[in-house]
């Protein structure tokens, strides 16, 4: 099964950007990751089972590309996450606080938390996307949640 890039861009672009941003912490890098991810979809001859399969593949590619960006020696001159956050408009102070706290988590916990809470993936699906064992995902999810709870207190239920 194949879907047009146009259709996928409409349904997945924001998700890919958010996933890439949660790793890169830089909007321009995340834009590049999204673009490269769609180019990779456009050029791959891979066959997909259904839309969910395509979506999971796109997320995995975006996550890998974003990790590669963070490891690249010659990363672009970037504005700090604090400066970038000043350009964002949050609905509530609590939302801003949560965003900032997530951005301070170590990368390996941040991406698992993001895929679980933003993309609604199960532990098993996250394990498949990140090529980790389910127990490893559970540990990262648990530690990430604990870190959020420690900072956010009553603003985070740990549910």
């Amino acid at each position: 099964m194949r879907l047009s890039v146009q259709k996928l861009a409409e349904s997945c672009q924001s998700s890919l950007f958010a996933a890439a941003f949660s790793i890169c912490q830089n909007a321009q890098d995340a834009e590049d990751v999204v673009q490269d991810t769609f180019v990779q979809y456009y050029t791959t001859k891979k066959e997909f089972e259904d839309e969910q399969h395509i979506r999971a593949w796109l997320i995995r590619v975006a996550v890998n590309k974003a990790k590669n960006v963070t490891r690249t020696f010659w990363r672009r001159n970037r504005i700090s996450i604090e400066d970038y956050m000043e350009t964002l408009v949050f609905e509530t102070p609590e939302a801003e606080n949560l965003f900032e706290t997530v951005m301070q988590l170590p990368e390996k916990y941040r991406i698992v938390i993001h895929l679980y809470y933003y993309e609604d993936y199960t532990v098993g699906e996250i394990a498949g996307i990140l090529k980790l064992s389910e127990s490893n995902v559970k540990i990262r999810l648990s530690r990430g949640r604990a870190m959020l709870k420690e900072v956010l207190k009553e603003e985070w239920n740990n549910d």
Partner: protein, 206 residues
Amino acid sequence: MTDRERYKQAFSALPSSRHLEVEEMEQIYRTHRKKLATAAAIACAAVIGAGGTAYAADLGGIQTRLSIWLFGEQTEITATENEDGGYTFIYDRGDGTESFGFGGVSIDEDGGLTSLSADELAAHINASASVEKDENGSVWVYYYDQKTEITDLFDENGVCSITMTHEGESIYLTITQDGEGSYSYTQTNDPQEAAMTTTTIITDDD
């Protein structure tokens, strides 16, 4: 409000990335392929010749024996894995043992990086031309079994363009004199890119 709802509300502040059109995607794809080819060529050029004389016995990694085209001749070479994920290639050039370090990565379908094997690197070396100045001051281009002298083919700007063909596949080389005995060159399979250059001589393996 659940944690999920809180999380989604917080991340809804992120702007959507810019919209991509299919036509734009095709343009990006073409540029992307060109960039990948250029990046691979740069990676190779940067490390070739960086090594000094070395001996196989001094190197601890797994060794592979290969046959590659070097200086227009099929050459037996020993590839030994090094600590950087690349290889040290050692060969006998007649008057002693020479070595050079070489490595590269491929990008898989999922965007992950994998170090190239010795065989893949050897294929890359074979497909890449090389430029050398000999002890008499003559400048030569080598490509597979071909050897072409280009000493007198540089224009007033110190640039020489040359097309070489191996088994029906053409490469376009632009060689630039950088200074005393030093040359840099670019290699492309794109005739349009090569058409931007001036003097062109053509050689092939027929």
